[in-house]
């Protein structure tokens, strides 16, 4: 038996998708997550699709475990070694506060490492990496004694300008590794300039190391697949558990990134030049832009109050999802970011939710099947109670002087306006007009809201992928192996020193290919791509410009000028600088999956649903598994896990690969 398995471990559910490498058979399931026993939950998921651990040859998982630990501040104590005089780097931060007009907010988050566990080491480099003051033996000895006395098991080292010269950090690392099991060096974790962001990333890594090591080691023991055991990372690929243990922050966005990675494959296979992903879950919605088959990348993201900097897919999250609570204030009506969460959840789930949510509005409009049991497993299922949704929306309707159905339609419209703002943001950042994009909708709520969102934003092409609700798990399954590193180099483009550049590139190639080689990939299978982070001399922000080797400085300059013009509307003749280099090593996946309709479907039914401009109309409820030909809205297309709303004026058609395509009905 030879099954390849992908799982996405969310806060509520663990999705699993498996494919048989010989026959191409697929199996999927959804089981409750178990934050207290993550490895048990993974084995439960394998059992839920009728497999034994011995049947599995490759197991890739994405998880929110590391992110949750950071956001909820459930991190073990660590120590920080910084340059003397700069040991308060975390506490100082960047000065900016979150809210302009409201003082009634929590104070700035305390530093991840408290003052008494920060050590100022006497040493100094300048920004070229030249040594101004080397650490003395006596000083190193004092530092080691201090760490030993502190009792921590994990230490972060983040020295000033270490991105330009790692020598001092290496020296310290050698000493520390003799006395503590976990050491994170900033020039390895995030070799980029700006001391606060680098120190923050390095300390988060150090704090996550014991957590990651704990559960990944358990997983290695109970599911001994060797190199077949992989973890999905934030940059849209997978790495071995060994690498993830060393660099746990790569898992920070693994779940959302997996959904985007699966979207990239669909964008490529359908030949869609521009795609916006729309992953609407229970509490958050994630969006990402894909242009010409590549997902947008970013390098910094806030986790709670703390910046985490590393190359990752530019997934933009907003705090609005199916469980978001509808709020009514004098400023108007809004949804989120407060959420009914998993418990109690939307009122219509009948678990004690007393406040109106987006899901309740969808229930009132007839989009949810009152007979279906959500979250399938026996005894845990949820049945939608439309009357309970009416009960919580009615008071809002009364205040507005509207009836409940119009109010529900309005709530959906406001929710979609909130989502549209997220789409706007990710496209503006890239100088793309979002209306030219196809909308790729997945997650529990994506297919339900896609057409309404398209209407409000002016999009005209929607793709609902096969297995849309277990899409992140699918992304894990079809993932490439990859590793990315970004490094500050600050090389002026005029008179570019090729030798220095080559040395940087060689070092980055070594860093990025090492994890893949260790997982058994052959050198020949690894593809490497190069991006220069370019800026004009007087700029500080950079623009990512891809290039090939050998580097042609004139071509790079021309590409930068063209891209800058496209993004910002102008280009100038000023000198340019290569501020940083981003190198990605990737082993393309050969796993290709066609999700065949597993279920048997059901005969078309009718239900009364309401849409903008068409209230209470008889609507066909179709089974996605048996869908054929063109379906004109109004219609609801449902499978076991998700609901696609096709409003009047839209039509849906099933594509051969199992995807649904929705466009406006020709007039």
């Amino acid at each position: 038996m030879s099954w390849l398995v992908g799982t996405d471990i969310g806060g509520t559910f663990t999705d699993i998708v498996a494919v048989h490498s010989g026959t191409g058979d697929t199996r999927t399931a959804k089981v409750p997550s178990r934050p207290d026993a993550p490895v048990d939950a993974m084995l439960d998921a394998i059992a839920a699709i009728g497999l034994q651990p011995g049947d599995v040859t490759r197991f890739v998982h994405g998880t929110t475990r590391v992110t949750n630990a950071i956001v909820q501040d459930r991190l073990p104590p660590i120590a920080l070694i910084a340059t003397a005089g700069f040991e308060d780097v975390l506490e100082i931060g960047r000065y900016r506060r979150r809210d302009l007009y409201n003082l009634d907010i929590p104070p700035k988050a305390p530093p991840l490492v408290p003052h008494e566990r920060c050590y100022g080491l006497t040493e100094r480099l300048d920004h070229h990496g030249h040594v101004m003051l080397a650490p003395s033996e006596a000083e190193l000895g004092r530092m080691v004694a201090w760490v030993a006395a502190s009792g921590v098991t994990s230490v972060a080292v983040s020295l000033l300008h270490a991105y330009a010269n790692p020598a001092h950090e290496r020296l310290i690392g050698e000493r520390l590794r003799r006395i503590v099991p976990y050491v994170s060096l900033s020039h390895e974790v995030n070799p980029e300039a700006r001391e606060y962001e680098r120190a923050s990333s390095t300390t988060i890594n150090a704090a996550a190391m014991p957590i990651a090591a704990g559960y990944l080691s358990e997983l290695e023991q109970r599911l001994p697949l060797g190199p077949g055991l992989q973890v999905f990372h934030s940059a849209g690929g997978m790495v071995s558990t060994a690498t993830a243990k060393e660099r746990p922050i790569v898992m920070a966005m693994s779940g959302p990134a997996a959904g985007v990675a699966a979207s990239v494959q669909i964008a490529r296979s359908l030949g869609l030049p521009r795609v916006l992903t729309f992953d609407m879950g229970g509490t958050t919605t994630d969006v990402c832009l894909i242009v010409d088959g590549d997902a947008a990348m970013t390098d910094t993201r806030m986790t709670g109050d703390r910046p985490l900097r590393q190359p990752m897919l530019a997934v933009h999250s907003i705090g609005a999802g199916g469980g978001s609570i509808v709020q009514q204030g004098a400023g108007g009506l809004s949804v989120g970011p407060q959420s009914a969460g998993v418990e109690p959840g939307p009122a219509c789930y009948g678990r004690g939710g007393m406040r109106a949510t987006i899901t309740d509005a969808n229930a009132i409009l007839g989009y949810l099947d009152p007979d279906a049991v959500l979250g399938g497993t026996v005894g845990k299922g949820i049945r939608v109670d439309v009357a309970k949704a009416h009960a919580v929306v009615a008071p809002i309707a009364a205040v507005l002087g509207l009836d409940v159905v119009d109010t529900a339609l309005g709530i959906i419209q406001v929710a979609n306006a909130t989502m549209a703002r997220a789409l706007r943001r990710v496209t503006v950042e890239r100088g793309v007009d979002g209306r030219d994009c196809a909308l790729l909708a997945f997650g529990g709520g994506g297919p339900m809201h896609a057409a309404g969102l398209a209407d409000i934003y002016g999009l005209s092409d929607i793709v609902i992928p096969a297995a849309s609700s277990a899409f992140s798990a699918l992304g894990c399954l079809t993932a490439d192996q990859s590793f990315v590193q970004q490094q500050t180099v600050r090389l002026p483009l005029a008179g570019l020193c090729q030798a220095t550049l080559s040395a940087h590139i060689e070092a980055l190639r070594t860093t990025t290919t090492a994890p893949l080689l260790a997982s058994g990939s052959g050198v020949g299978a690894i593809r490497i791509s190069y991006v220069a982070m370019m800026r004009y001399e007087a700029q500080s922000d950079t623009t990512a410009v891809p290039f090939n080797l050998p580097l042609d400085a004139a071509a790079l300059h021309a590409d930068f000028q063209a891209l800058h013009l496209q993004l910002f509307g102008y280009a100038t003749g000023e000198p340019c600088v290569i501020e940083g280099l981003r190198v990605e090593a990737r082993v393309p996946s050969s796993t290709c999956i066609v999700m065949t309709g597993g279920g048997e479907g059901h005969a078309p039914q009718l239900r009364r649903c309401s849409f903008a401009g068409a209230r209470d109309v008889e609507t066909a409820i179709l089974s996605r598994e048996t869908l054929a030909g063109i379906v004109n809205g109004p219609a609801i297309i449902a499978d076991a896990w998700s609901t696609v709303v096709v409003p009047p004026g839209w039509q849906a058609v099933a594509e051969p690969e199992g995807h649904l395509r929705m466009v406006r009905r020709p007039a």
Binding site: G85, F86, E87, D88, E91, I92, G93, R94, Y95, R96, R97, L100, Y101, L103, D104, P107, K108, D126, H127, L160, H161, Y163, A193, E195, Y196, G329, A330, G331, G332, L333, S334, L400, L402, D406, G410, I411, Q413, V414, A417, A420, R421, R424, R425, V428, E429, D455, G458, R490, Y536, A538, Q539, S540, D541, L567, F568, G569, Y570, T572, A612, G613
Partner: protein
């Protein structure tokens, strides 16, 4: 594009959807400018703001930017329209100006404004403000501590077209470039501002197309009304009465009581009058404000007192009356220098309001904090005649509140710009940061402690540099509330050839290689009596 069918004529959902669209467009302007601007002040520190107004110049939506800008921008277009009426605009126009008299704050804050035409009619304006690191004048950085009039401060730009449908007006651009010390940055920043206003223009035109111009215009009115109702309700929640509060500027730093900043607040029913007539007379330096800066401070403070989250727009201002006295520091005449008053005196007005309400709504307030820009501006002469400018602001300890300690190392109230990371600073400027640390124990004690300030030390590596200091809270310390202790004050020290001397908070001076400038920032005041 799809036209949304609206069942009701102006249902609350359309209002909310258009509100989202407008706020997103304003935020998008800031994003466009921050991404494309040239100077670190905009890109790293974010010293810029974006707003959208209605056709009469009333504020409709704003980005999440800098309150001192945003408050003044509520007047910037309204005042412009008095000298440049609606009928003089044509589609594609963008005007540039920085005059204090036209709803301005200080000359460094350069505005670009663009009318938004739909079917030949102006439905809105988009406005981008950016703090340029230099706008000419007597001293690099355009902060002249001893300025006696505004003509010494910087180039004064009246409203002139910087772009039209035909493109950028090169003549005006050249005129400006030859008058500033960093023309490359100025041009980059300006092009970014023009792009930002054009971007928001398209978004507003889209909203009008989708929902109908009529619905759009009525929605704006509705948003004004909603915010007005919210503000009136908030004022009703405050007790009627007259409340007075004051604070002082540092003055000459010689220890004598500094210039007085005073406010007299009259709450009557659902209206509030903020009378600043009790403030000192016009100052013989750059700490004066325009009436718009003063109003900006009041708008911010009123929002604090309201304790409510509301769409900040012209409607929210309707219940407020703001009075300034001609000849005072807040209405000194249009020839007065105002570079520092923009962020120093405005902050002191906020402090005066907070102190006036100490016993009325203490739970909504915070004790005194770093209500100053804490500015050190370094200028290095470059070969060939140009200057390299570093405009570095410094946060301090936030004042404590009724339920918590103040945060360390932060910006408060009217400003919200960032520091420049040491690793970026050293790579760009002939300076070395020798230390950046929390100033432990600098927050005032109390039931809740004030936050701690910071210490940052700069070593000069260039043969010669110019330094501008613009720092308050060196004499008058951040106050405590409800019995809390004051925070420690700001200090600036210059170490030269082993000799340490104190520097004044408002000065222009020369630095030489090897000098060490150390700024020690204030702690926040405490709240309540320690148990």
């Amino acid at each position: 594009m799809t036209v949304i069918q609206t069942a009701a004529l102006l249902d609350p959902f359309i209002v909310e959807v258009i509100r989202h669209g407008l706020s997103a467009a304003a935020e998008e302007m800031s994003l466009v400018l921050m991404r494309s601007a040239r100077s670190p002040l905009l890109r790293e520190a974010g010293d810029l703001s974006s707003t959208i107004t209605d056709a009469s110049g009333g504020l409709v939506a704003q980005g999440r930017d800098i309150p001192v800008h945003l408050g003044a921008m509520a007047y910037t277009i309204r005042e412009l329209l008095k000298v440049h009426p609606l009928e003089r605009f044509v589609p594609g126009d963008a005007l540039i100006y920085n005059l204090g008299a036209l709803g301005g704050n200080h000359l460094n804050d350069v505005k670009v404004v663009r009318p938004v035409f739909v079917d030949g009619v102006i439905v809105a304006f988009t406005l981008s403000l950016a703090h340029w690191p230099d706008v000419g004048g007597s001293w690099p950085g355009s902060y002249l501590a001893t300025a006696t009039d505004t003509f010494q401060e910087a180039i004064r730009i009246p409203p002139v077209p910087i772009a039209s449908a035909a493109g950028v007006n090169q003549a005006v651009l050249e005129m400006i470039k030859v008058n500033v010390r960093d023309p490359v940055s100025a041009e980059g920043d300006l092009l970014g501002q023009i792009a930002a206003t054009a971007c928001a223009e398209r978004r507003i035109q889209d909203l009008c197309r989708v929902y109908g111009t009529d619905i759009f215009l009525r929605t704006i009115e509705r948003l004004h009304d909603l915010s007005e109702a919210e503000m009136r309700e908030a004022i009703i929640g405050l007790p009627d009465g007259v409340f007075e509060g004051e604070d002082s500027l540092d003055g000459d730093g010689a220890g004598a009581a500094g210039p007085r900043i005073h406010v007299r607040i009259t709450i009557a029913g659902d209206e509030a009058i903020f009378d600043l007539s009790g403030c000192c007379d016009r100052l013989p330096n750059f700490c004066n404000t325009t009436p718009f800066i003063a109003a900006s401070a009041i708008i911010y403070a009123a929002r604090l007192l309201s304790g409510r989250d509301m769409q900040q727009n012209a409607g929210a201002l309707r219940p407020l009356t703001i009075i300034t006295r001609p000849g005072s520091v807040c209405e000194p005449g249009w020839d007065a220098p105002v570079a520092a008053g923009n962020h120093e005196t405005s902050m002191r007005i906020v402090d005066a309001v907070i102190r006036s309400m100490e016993h009325v709504v203490p739970h909504r307030l915070a004790a005194g904090g770093p209500t100053t820009s804490g500015l050190l501006a370094f200028a290095e002469p470059m070969p060939g005649g140009g200057w390299r400018l570093l405009y570095e602001v410094h946060g301090g300890g936030e004042g404590a509140r009724h339920d918590r300690d103040g945060s360390p190392a932060t910006r408060v109230h009217m400003t919200n710009t960032s520091n420049t990371p040491t690793e970026m600073l050293e790579a760009t400027y002939a300076l070395r940061v020798e230390r950046q640390a929390i100033r432990r124990g600098s927050g005032g004690s109390g039931l809740h402690r004030g936050g701690d300030g910071v210490v940052r030390a700069y070593r000069v590596l260039a043969p010669k540099m110019l330094l501008t200091t613009c720092v308050e809270r060196m004499v008058a310390p951040p106050y405590g509330l409800q019995g809390g202790d004051v925070g420690k004050t700001f200090q600036i020290a210059l170490e030269r050839n082993g000799q340490v001397s104190a520097l004044p908070g408002k000065a222009n001076l020369f630095l030489f290689k090897g000098d060490l400038v150390t700024i020690t920032t204030c702690g926040g005041g405490g709240y309540g009596v320690a148990g």
